[in-house]
Symmetry: C2
Subunit: 503 residues, 2 copies
């Protein structure tokens, strides 16, 4: 059973939700496979996505209330997150209407092509098939049942089975009910969408022959285990995991010179946002040696409000993680971890510091991502030491740079190049939390940030994870899919390559 | 040592080539990683690719001679294949010049965006890093050292280390020398390109920390082993394998009515092309029961010239494979396998037939891809039996349909939908061998055709396998890569999204 708890009190919320049996997984996955042909046409797809958006909006009050009871993230944040979830469905609906995601290319026959005459070739992207989505705990709407993975897979034309996160089962049940009803009412076939529950159900799902791809947001350990299952199938499937990220943030002497207090306030606000439970939390802050900011940082932390953590496991991991850091030789407590004073999963924030030299030497234990309101300052003596310390950090979703672009031009270039080499998003003079949902956005990065550095889980390009190419060779016009016919009856954007001119 | 042999005689060709040591692999991979920054700029990249094309052309006579000695594919085919290899480098050079492969998207800041204001976001694709390429035996130029994987990875801006196929070591040495010299003379840094030899070298390569992606063309067993190594790394890397494909080809009663002899000639020409050593060989031909074509087929086979196979292992596998097929209950020999009469790796062609009912029942042993001049005819009694038999075939690179589009309209639609669902290329009224190298082309398909149904190993889209996105957030114009600057100094195609109008 999945049982939700109120993080403010540790008391149960609502009824427990039973785990999904292997037989039910098989029934749902088989139904999903059967739904593939009916979901393939573009007609109606954008309307269905907009219907889901409208249904989420209509259920806003109830959704926010149940999510707040299970996560304690607060109505302001949860209302904003629900808007994000709704906007994601609307954004993907617009992408479906636009049609350029189909990446249509038409090569007309070319008798003069080298090394051999070219036949008529017409390529488009088609849905990959049923997708398994693994929900995260820290975004009960935007990375959960109603999240971007669900929206992008449905937009790609794929049936979706979500494995709910055990941290918010009632939110998952309600989100699933709202989405399923909207889809059904707008003509989606049986098998288009389902939510399943339980650890074993998640393992059964990724191994089911009908599942053609999986998307996951969560821990390195959990993601790696499912990735390994996906890759060891008789027929391996793509597994898009967003696993863990330290999000190094570099501050140079030049940046401190002008705006030290602004940087202190910005950093503390970012690493404590959502009680430090974001995959884009700046977990490592690189500061020049002798920065003299300890008391300003401690003051900013003391003035911040930090809510309880999302669940018992995150709570335990935080308490253990900060105790380990505090015990590390060479690690200094800027804000020492203290025993929690409240009920439930309440914790106190903390902040540590270490020299770059010690960080490089003992990097292993200092490189564990710790969910919750903590971060590690790495103090560097020189640019070379800064570079060496940055090179010790594994791949990240983001790298942030605060510097003086004129006075430190050479250093800045070197930092931006390193940032692009080791992460998917390079943030200038800002903070990595807060991920805009747009066409240009990329939420990904080298391992362990993601299992597939080539793909994103945020923004319109997220659809590409669930589409595969098919090319039609010399197929008569009347037999082609509408998207590829000469008359272009759907009015889709297409690249058409005419034959080489006779020479 | 890799030793080449003349397939016509079985005698050694040239000197043996020593295997690459683990220390040398480490040295080469480290040098490749060091070359990454110097290869990143677009400037000079297209020129280098054209220089390789010109160098291959300049070495044509020598390359074709040594490849013919090692493969016995004959000068006509090898000259055409060398042209293809050259054209591939030229095509990718044009793609680099065009620049749309960078997939640049610029979102201008939008204070009215929902659920939060949008910062300036600019995304482009960047090279993934050093790529390991595993050469195939059956295309000593176009899928080997000078092949499409090498060309597309270099075009993406990645250093390349090719693991040579042991079937044509002297061709590999010469191709490598020609390519390396052309790259060096056109300013490519040390570490840009290398060729390595030996089975263990291939395993060392895919496990080396500096290697960021791998591309493979070859057997299911060999590809799966390397795929498993790539996925079990501490940091898994993308592995693009093109492994095996039966390429089902369906002929309906309607198609036979009009042009039975044309189909017989076309089919025999296609399955015997290159002595049946193409990954796109039509290995399964679906014919209506009672087709009465046995003698026409046998006659066409008898009239065809079949060269020796490429190597001893392919030769042994063919002899074993056709003997197994001939022994299968319910399998009829249309052209019975006979003992080879020539020297070296010479073989006689063969052709088998089985009922769809028996095929469905005993599908396992009948679904082994057998490289060489053999194929299996599956005889179906009804459309339903045809569909059931097609559903028993694993994912393929191609599916081909010969039918009467008017008289059999409903059947044709069902066949084309099935073809698109289970393969990457749908061929109408033609034959799957002969893969045009174009923008719309797709050479891929569901497992085991490829490990990644989302990507192609032929055509311009092949570059996408070796590129990952990076997004720059709020980075001042002067600090952005040239490709993303406001003035667009490189004149690249870009999608620019303006802010939402004030409402």
């Amino acid at each position: 059973m999945d049982q939700g708890y109120d993080p403010r009190t540790g008391q149960p919320v609502g009824e427990p939700v039973p785990h999904t049996s292997p037989e039910e997984i098989d029934r749902l996955a088989t139904a999903a496979a059967a739904a593939v042909p009916a979901l393939a046409p573009l007609a109606g797809r954008a309307d269905r996505l907009r219907a889901v958006a409208a249904a989420l909006e209509a259920a806003r009050e109830e959704l926010v209330a149940v999510a707040d009871a299970e996560t304690a993230l607060g109505p302001a944040r949860l209302n904003s997150e629900l808007t994000r979830a709704r906007v994601q469905f609307e954004m993907f609906a617009a992408e479906v209407d636009d049609g350029s995601f189909l990446d249509i290319v038409i090569d007309r026959p070319d008798p003069n092509a080298l090394p051999a005459p070219r036949p008529d070739l017409r390529r488009m992207l088609v849905p990959i098939g049923p997708v398994a989505v693994y929900a995260a705990s820290n975004f009960p709407f935007a990375f959960s049942v109603a999240g971007g993975d669900t929206a992008s897979a449905l937009a790609a034309g794929c049936p979706v089975i979500v494995k709910a996160h055990p941290g918010h089962p009632q939110t998952s049940v309600l989100s699933g009910r709202v989405i399923a009803a909207a889809l059904r009412e707008h003509g989606a076939p049986e098998g288009t969408f389902a939510v399943v529950y339980g650890f074993e159900a998640g393992r059964d799902l990724v191994r089911h022959p009908a599942i053609r791809a999986a998307a996951f947001t969560g821990s390195v350990a959990g993601g790696r285990a499912l990735f390994d299952l996906a890759q060891s199938r008789p027929d391996p499937i793509p597994f898009y995991g967003e696993l863990g990220s330290l999000n190094p943030t570099v501050v140079t002497r030049g940046a401190l010179a002008g705006r030290a207090q602004e940087i202190v306030t910005g950093f503390v606000g970012s690493y404590l946002l959502g009680s430090g439970q974001f995959c884009t939390k700046p977990g490592l802050l690189f500061l020049p040696e002798g920065h003299g900011l300890d008391s300003a940082l401690a003051e900013a932390v003391a003035g911040a409000a930090v809510g309880p953590l999302l669940g018992e496991r995150i709570h335990q991991a935080y308490v253990h993680g900060v105790a380990t850091l505090a015990d590390e030789p060479d690690v200094r407590s800027v804000v020492a971890p203290t025993a929690p004073t409240g009920d439930g999963y309440t914790v106190a924030p903390s902040l540590f510091a270490v020299s770059a030299a010690a960080f490089i030497k003992r990097r292993g234990p200092l490189l564990e991502e710790c969910f919750g309101p903590t971060a590690l300052i790495v103090e560097y003596a020189s640019a070379d030491e800064l570079f060496a310390a940055l090179d010790a950090v594994p791949g990240s979703l983001t790298t942030t740079v605060h510097a003086d672009p004129e006075a430190e031009a050479e250093l800045v270039r070197a930092l931006l190049d390193r940032a692009a080499a080791r992460s998917g998003r390079v943030v200038w003079s800002g903070w990595p939390t807060g991920v805009a949902v747009t066409a240009a956005q990329h939420h990904g990065g080298p391992w362990p940030a993601t299992t597939s550095a080539l793909h994103t889980s945020v923004g319109t390009a997220a659809m590409r994870r669930f589409l595969r190419p098919v090319v039609y060779q010399s197929v008569p016009d009347a037999l082609l899919p509408d998207a590829l016919r000469d008359a272009n009856p759907l009015g889709l954007p297409r690249r058409v390559n005419e034959p080489t001119p006779n020479s």
